[in-house]
């Protein structure tokens, strides 16, 4: 009996010790994540602007009402969705092709992989400036290359559709290598025996790709797509540098709009509201995506 009590005491003391060890982390989390999150939620219910020193006023859901009837918000939402819906599939397909090619060992393959990482390592602001030069309609190398195919110079950043295409091109250039590297890691983790078994069964290369490689890469795809969804909803600096959201508001994204309303117009209440809505959108999309992928996986199993 006494031994059992001693065991319980030991267990309790171990739990206490574990809690004590977790405490600094919890405090940091509360201070840096939970605290600002609660503050952001609270601000979203306030009419609060720094343009005047008026005291903040509690306004229930007024900011939300105003936001959902604001065409500029829906335009930014649509732009973010376009980048997501067009960008992610294009980048995923390109990355898969490149990853499959790089997975074949050839002389200098490691150097190629290392070089491939450069766009990801470049600061988004620098990438924005680089692409601004590349896309210049008079001196830009892209129009120069296109001229060999008989394409007249395009004003990439001056026409709404072309400006959005420019954002997509730049995003694809910068993030395809990241997706490639993640998929390459996934490919490297697939055991050779699986391919050997598939070969023994007489599978063609296409069948191996669809029935072996792709299902085994699914966790990596899930991870990388989720990360890209989050990154795309936060996209700000390259858009700000490349187009500033223009022409008009044709390339204004949710991240850029949040910045403009919060840090240019100093409308703290409304910028908090957009941030909350953005958080909800990302959470819902991510949840839907994970559920979809997991259901499929369970169905297949």
């Amino acid at each position: 009996m006494a031994g059992s009590a001693g065991l319980i005491t030991l267990e309790t003391s171990q739990k206490r010790f574990a809690r004590l060890m977790a405490l600094p982390g919890m405090i940091v989390l509360i201070l840096l994540v939970v605290g600002p999150l609660v503050y952001m939620f609270a601000n979203s219910f306030m009419l609060k602007t720094l343009a005047t020193p008026l005291p903040p006023r509690f306004a229930w859901f007024k900011n939300y009402g105003d936001l959902f009837t604001d065409g500029r918000f829906w335009n930014a939402f649509l732009n973010s969705m376009i980048i997501m819906v067009v960008g992610i599939p294009v980048q995923s397909v390109l990355a898969l092709i490149i990853a499959l090619l790089l997975n074949k060992k050839f002389p200098g393959s490691k150097i190629v992989v290392a070089l491939f990482l450069i766009p990801v390592m470049i600061t988004p602001v620098v990438a924005g400036f680089e692409w601004k030069i590349i896309l210049d309609n008079r001196f830009g190398p892209l129009n120069f290359v296109l001229s060999f195919f008989g394409v007249a110079p395009l004003a990439w950043l001056a026409k709404p559709a072309l400006a959005m295409a420019s954002i997509l091109i730049m995003d694809t250039w910068q993030w395809t290598p990241f997706v490639t590297i993640v998929l390459l890691a996934g490919l490297a983790a697939i055991p050779k025996q699986v391919y050997e078994a598939s070969s023994v069964d007489g599978s063609t290369a296409r069948e191996t790709l669809w029935r072996v490689t792709m299902p085994l890469l699914r966790p990596m795809f899930t991870l990388v797509v989720l990360l890209r969804i989050i990154f795309i909803f936060k996209i700000f600096d390259p858009v700000q540098i490349l187009t500033g959201g223009g022409p008009g508001i044709s390339t204004e994204t949710l991240g850029l709009l949040t910045y403009i309303i919060g840090f240019k117009n100093f409308n703290v209440g409304m910028s908090a509201t957009i941030a909350v809505v953005q958080l909800i959108i990302i959470t819902v999309i991510a949840k839907l995506f994970i559920t979809l992928v997991m259901n499929r996986r369970e169905g297949k199993q």
Binding site: A155, P160, G246, P247, K264
Partner: protein, 474 residues
């Protein structure tokens, strides 16, 4: 007794001398805030002179389009990081009303800024608030019409223009004239212009279409059509008939602009003109100086400058208004610990050193003083005496017909909403009337979110100043 009196007298004299020279001998650091690059160059030039006064000058530069947000953040935080702030007059009402800036009238005795020498409309509308001086002028930014001179005097072009439009080819004075001229000079590569075969497409007109200050190019037309930002009761007037017509006129001019006009900022627009790609354009005053620099320009001594076009009135006169986006001014924050030294720096930059700044291509500063306008000699390094005189007279004309930005609290938000409407409609993604209605609705919301009565009071005092200069009739 006599000895005692002498001792007291000597003590008083020493005290007076010490008091008089204490400012000169003080060792203080003055931090100057402004948009980085060429516009802080005059501060660099002032450093040796300031050092002689015991003042160490430090500069903090921020991007051109971020002046408001960085400064506002500092003001709200009340950090007192800056002693002298160079910013745009759009924010004067907000900064002065909320006590971020100190009135300067009481500091004039430190070093006379010679405000009587400043072009009156510019001084009253851009440096004063509620009857007090809150800022000193630093950059007389005003928009002007530029044109390439020789194509307007070419005999063949003149004859062709007359044949096409039944009137003489001349520098446009009205928007209608500008439209005709822009249409006439828009040519394809391989066509002839003033007898020379074009090796690239040539365009009749260009304006600044990139987000940020694009609204000002619309405001030129809006102002000349009699537009005002609000009525006396703070009802937005940007979506009035004048506003919609102005946007339609600007949109119609796009047919004669380079295809990348909607992504043209200051540099791109200036380059289009300096590199001989456009016949006319509207830009800030410093472009004339740069146009006459062979290192930068292909149109040296061929750059004409004129008043921004206006609208013909029933009596035959033309109503001109020139927008004045940016236009830097210098203020002293209430948080500075060295207001006298800060004012000395501001006054030196605004007055004593200003002629050097406005006559250099190493800065972006433009003339704003009557003494600048009368100093033709100082501008002769950019052209002949006649060209310099024409330049200065034109800048003065445009400054005297300034259409000032809305400079009441919340102006950054008002102007952003307007800029979005203008650029959206111009880039084809919005109907002019609908775009301006959306902007007007946003303006109403902004006004409601601020203190409506205070906004009304401030705006009405601005209108009174407009009235004084003949820019407003009740």
């Amino acid at each position: 007794m006599q000895g005692k009196k002498t001792f007291v007298f000597i003590c008083l004299a020493v005290l007076m001398i010490v008091a008089q020279t204490s400012f000169a001998q003080a060792k203080v650091t003055i931090t100057v805030y402004g948009d980085e690059g060429q516009n802080l160059t005059p501060v660099e030039w002032l450093k040796p002179l300031a050092a002689e006064k015991g003042i160490t000058l430090e500069t903090v530069g921020v991007p051109f389009t971020s002046v408001y947000e960085k400064l506002k953040t500092e003001f709200v935080g009340g950090t007192g990081a800056y002693d002298v702030v160079i910013f745009y007059p759009d924010y004067l009402g907000e900064f002065a009303e909320f006590g971020y800036l100190q009135p300067l009238d009481g500091l004039f005795s430190v070093h006379d800024p010679n405000m009587a020498d400043v072009v009156p409309a510019y001084r009253d509308l851009y440096t004063m608030y509620n009857g007090k001086t809150y800022a000193l002028p630093y950059d007389g930014d005003i928009l002007n019409l530029y044109y390439v001179k020789d194509i307007f005097t070419n005999a063949a072009e003149k004859a062709a223009f007359k044949a096409k439009f039944g009137q003489e080819l001349a520098v446009p004075r009205t928007w209608d004239d500008l439209s005709k001229v822009a249409q006439f000079f828009t040519r394809k590569k391989g066509d002839k212009l003033a007898g020379k075969v074009l090796d690239q497409d040539y365009y009749g007109f260009a304006f600044l279409g990139a987000r940020g200050f694009a609204y000002a190019w619309w405001a030129n037309i809006f102002g000349s059509l009699g537009g005002a930002w609000f009525d006396r009761n703070m009802k937005p007037q940007i979506n009035s008939a004048a506003g919609v017509n102005a946007l339609k006129i600007q949109k119609s001019l796009m047919a004669f602009c380079p295809p990348d006009v909607m992504s043209m900022g200051y540099q791109e627009l200036m380059n289009a003109y300096l590199q001989g790609r456009v016949a006319t354009m509207i830009q800030w005053s410093d472009v004339w100086k740069k146009a006459n620099d062979p290192k930068l320009s292909k149109i040296v001594h061929n750059a004409g400058i004129s008043q921004v076009p206006g609208v013909k009135q029933a009596d035959g006169s033309i109503y001109f208004r020139a927008a004045a986006p940016v236009g830097r001014i210098i203020g002293i924050p209430t948080t500075t610990k060295h207001p006298k030294e800060a004012f000395w720096v501001a006054s030196m930059l605004s007055n004593d050193e200003s002629i050097k700044a406005v006559t250099s291509n190493d800065t972006g500063e433009d003339p704003y003083r009557i003494s600048h306008m009368n100093n033709i000699k100082a501008f002769e390094k950019f052209g002949t005496a006649a060209e310099a005189k024409n330049y200065l007279d034109t800048v003065k004309d445009n400054l005297n017909h300034v259409f000032p930005d809305v400079n009441i609290p919340g102006s950054a938000e008002y102007l952003d909403a307007l800029d979005v409407a203008v650029t959206s409609a111009l880039s084809g993604s919005g109907d002019p009337a609908a775009a301006l209605n959306t902007a007007a609705a946003s303006w109403d919301k902004i006004t409601q979110s601020l203190d409506v009565n205070r906004q009304k009071k401030i705006y009405n005092s601005m209108l009174e100043m407009w009235k004084k200069h003949g820019f407003w009739k009740d």
